[in-house]
Symmetry: C2
């Protein structure tokens, strides 16, 4: 195992509760440090971005888990954490597709980011059809969770 | 700026040239370290994964660039690196959507990974419709590059 250093390039700014964050309907600001602002030039011509962030509320002990029931549901199968989107994983890296609402200098207003206030940002990628696949297959437990979520 | 430690959870194994890697038509193995193998259970029920990796061939000086012409083309506009998929960025994190061909224990055979042999793996995420957006907008220069690439 090798250890790698990453730098934070900015942080999330919002006033959302954990529930609002999870619902992915709200706007957040992605504040990029001034020293990286030049790196954003042209990003406003994309409608969607993948945001890569660091879930810094995850505790060290939670990074050691390798199995979990999705969202802790007792009626769900016990799964490997790489088969889930659980934040409890060896590297609590978050990846979320967001809509880019607008850019003002070093601040990107985005819709749908499921990250809490102050979450460190590691990278931003413009989203294109290479990142997109319509015909994916997912397991049955995943569809059940999804149905539950959207029916709330 | 904050520094964060990430751990490698495995590495890429293939015998591809840089050109073959870029074309994203070939198979590679993603070898996950034995200590994390339990974390893969159930991942074989997904058809697609997002692979997050560390582009370790990128030099320190290349991580300081903030602007570049896409693929170095002189007829392309000068853009911020976050508006491109250039590997030259503050954190050379790679993100690629791949097809999961099969899993054998701690080894995932995937199609379409654009990472060189021995590239460190940071995380794997199952791919679902939350990661997918059909109606994205991309800039004109992006479409031109894409046309050039697919006509080769």
């Amino acid at each position: 195992m090798q250890r790698i250093f990453v730098k934070t390039i900015g942080f999330v700014r919002n006033e959302l509760t954990e529930d609002e964050v999870r619902d992915r309907n709200c706007d957040s600001d992605v504040v990029i440090y001034k020293e990286y602002e030049a790196g954003l030039e042209g990003i406003e011509d994309f409608s969607h971005l993948n945001i890569i962030f660091w879930m810094d509320r995850i505790r060290r002990s939670e990074r050691k888990l390798l199995k979990a029931r999705p969202r802790g549901h007792q009626d769900m199968p016990m799964l490997g954490i790489f088969a889930t989107r659980s934040p409890h994983r060896p590297n609590p890296i978050g990846l979320t597709l967001v809509k880019l609402v607008e850019r003002k200098g070093n601040i990107l207003r985005v819709n749908g980011l499921d990250a809490l206030n102050d979450t460190p940002i590691l990278d931003l990628k413009p989203y294109d059809k290479w990142d997109s696949e319509e015909h994916m297959k997912v397991p049955r437990w995943w569809m059940m969770l999804e149905r539950e979520r959207t029916s709330r």
